[in-house]
């Protein structure tokens, strides 16, 4: 074996080992949570409300709450985020105003989530008199997700070759027709990735829902958008630190359910991506 080949093999081995290092913590976390939480996963745990100071029963209201919050967040942030990104990439000219918008979007993604929580509390809960409610919580989470959704959508749109737009426009399509049939279809996989990433983060956040929606203990299910709900991340926080003598497996079980929920969202997005990839042919 000559020297160049040897060097290449060493480099590949080192790179491979480093990549492995990245995967190790993820696998460890999963292993740890599954090992300690698996015993907690029973039918009752998934379908019953907590009982006896949350030391018994299940986490059903928290699961429902988190699902409702993700749905609400999606309903507000998806149209708003995707449409603004389309405007910024396809329509807006490069002016001081649009630069200001782009700068704000980037800066928004750097704000700590507790600040979003306080902002949501002041604006939605107090000023707009929504009270602590699913609506207020979803709006707060939606605002927090917006920057990532906008940035991901922007990048996905910018990655679509300019030529496609020229072809479409040169055939007499309007700008909107071009965006709809010649740009968006090719950007959807990228948009999905960014969206699911930011929604996964929203699903696991505690700080933004702390003052805007999350209930400490509320065994009944919500009846409207203006009700409070329990949510998985906050429930996890509560039973791990605020209530004494909750079995350890309950905490890990709750964590496991949250991870599973996020994985399920990722799975759906992978299936959707594959579906859209099949439609286009490179």
């Amino acid at each position: 074996m000559n020297r160049a080949k040897l060097r290449q093999n060493i480099a590949f081995t080192v790179l491979g080992l480093i990549t492995l290092l990245v995967v190790v913590p993820i696998l460890l976390v999963l292993y740890y949570v599954i090992r300690h939480g698996w015993n907690a996963i029973t039918w009752e745990f998934l379908t019953a409300a907590p009982r006896n100071g949350m030391k018994e029963g299940g986490i059903y209201p928290a699961i429902v709450g988190t699902v409702l919050l993700i749905t609400g967040t999606m309903a507000f942030s998806l149209p708003l985020g995707i449409l603004s990104a389309i405007y910024l990439v396809e329509y807006a000219r490069d002016t001081l105003f649009t630069r200001l918008i782009k700068l704000s979007v980037v800066n928004l993604s750097g704000i700590p989530s507790i600040v979003y929580g306080l902002f949501g509390f002041t604006l939605f809960v107090v000023f707009m008199r929504m009270g602590a409610s699913i609506l207020a919580g979803s709006l707060t989470l939606a605002i927090m997700s917006l920057p990532v959704i906008i940035t991901a959508t922007k990048e996905a749109l910018e990655a679509v070759p300019m030529v496609y737009r020229e072809i479409s426009l040169s055939l007499g399509a309007t700008r909107w027709q071009t965006v709809r049939s010649c740009v968006l279809p090719y950007a959807i996989p990228g948009i999905l990735t960014g969206t699911v990433l930011s929604l996964s983060r929203a699903a696991g956040e505690t700080a933004p829902i702390l003052f805007t929606v999350a209930a400490f203990y509320l065994p009944r299910l919500p009846r409207s958008m203006f009700d409070q709900v329990m949510a998985l991340p906050y429930h996890l926080y509560v039973i791990s630190t605020q209530v004494p003598n909750v079995p350890e497996k309950f905490s890990f079980g709750t964590g496991l359910v949250l991870i599973a929920l996020v994985c399920l969202m990722n799975l759906v997005s992978i299936i959707l991506r594959a579906h859209f990839r099949k439609k286009k042919q490179w």
Binding site: Y164, R165, E166, S168, L169, S170, L171, A173
Partner: protein
């Protein structure tokens, strides 16, 4: 064969990118059903002129334009972009196909123009491919991705796609620059046959191609229109010495 009636006319057309002037006072008439060749060295403004006609230049935010372009007796400023581009189609230098099937590539134009009837679209696809003389080659592969075709086939597919929007004028921006001689000959044959029903403008770096295909020829140099005349006359007795130098290969 060439009717002396202008379908396109430019009056003092000046084009700029930022402060760089790329076209200077262009006054030219394009006659109905002629093939107008546009020759000239690189950076002489040929492509900018072509893309000014169907307003593709305006996609570049630094582009500015002065002067008037008249199409069918109407100032094009009064015509919406989508309509002018539908009337004046363009074939790009490199074959540019969308990453969908052959059929979908051609059906795209008619669909955005609101033709919903499936049979009408199918009919248009077939007619367009026949007019571009690729129907026999492609009729059994309409569902295959257009990207799988050879460069020459892709370029003729692009011609068919432009024909499907039923334009009056077809612009060609160095359509054969990436093609082999046989594909080039096929594209040139197609152009000659299309001359019966379409006005065509051919920008080319290949002076021989312009002499083979065009009825009249315009010579652009450094953003100015040096002369425009019958191709045969221009290639034998050009009225400007610079044209003579360029055609005979003294520079370019």
């Amino acid at each position: 064969m060439v009717e002396q009636n202008a379908i396109i006319k430019t009056i003092n057309l000046n084009c700029f990118y930022d402060n760089l002037q790329v076209l200077r006072d262009i006054n030219i008439e394009v006659y109905r059903n002629e093939i107008l060749g546009i020759i000239g060295p690189a950076n002489s403004g040929k492509t900018t002129f072509l893309r000014a006609l169907n307003r593709l230049n305006s996609l570049n935010i630094n582009y500015r334009q002065k002067g008037v372009i008249v199409f069918e007796g109407q100032n094009t400023q009064d015509i919406p972009d989508s309509l002018i581009r539908r009337k004046i189609g363009i074939i790009f230098a490199m074959p540019q196909v969308l990453p969908v099937s052959i059929y979908e590539n051609i059906a795209y134009g008619p669909k955005v123009h609101g033709i919903r009837d499936k049979h009408r679209v199918e009919q248009l696809v077939e007619e367009s491919l026949k007019k571009a003389f690729v129907w026999d080659e492609l009729k059994d592969r309409l569902k295959t991705p257009a990207t799988k075709l050879s460069g020459g086939q892709q370029q003729r597919l692009c011609i068919a796609r432009t024909l499907a929007i039923e334009p009056d004028v077809i612009l060609y921006d160095e359509p054969c620059s990436g093609l082999d001689p046989i594909s080039t000959a096929k594209v040139e044959d197609t152009m000659s046959l299309l001359a019966q029903s379409y006005t065509q403008i051919l920008v080319t770096n290949n002076t021989k191609q312009a002499s083979r295909v065009s009825h009249r020829c315009a010579f652009f140099l450094m953003g100015e229109l040096v002369e425009v005349d019958q191709t045969r006359k221009m290639y034998t007795h050009p009225s400007d010495p610079r044209t003579d130098d360029y055609i005979t290969g003294k520079f370019g």
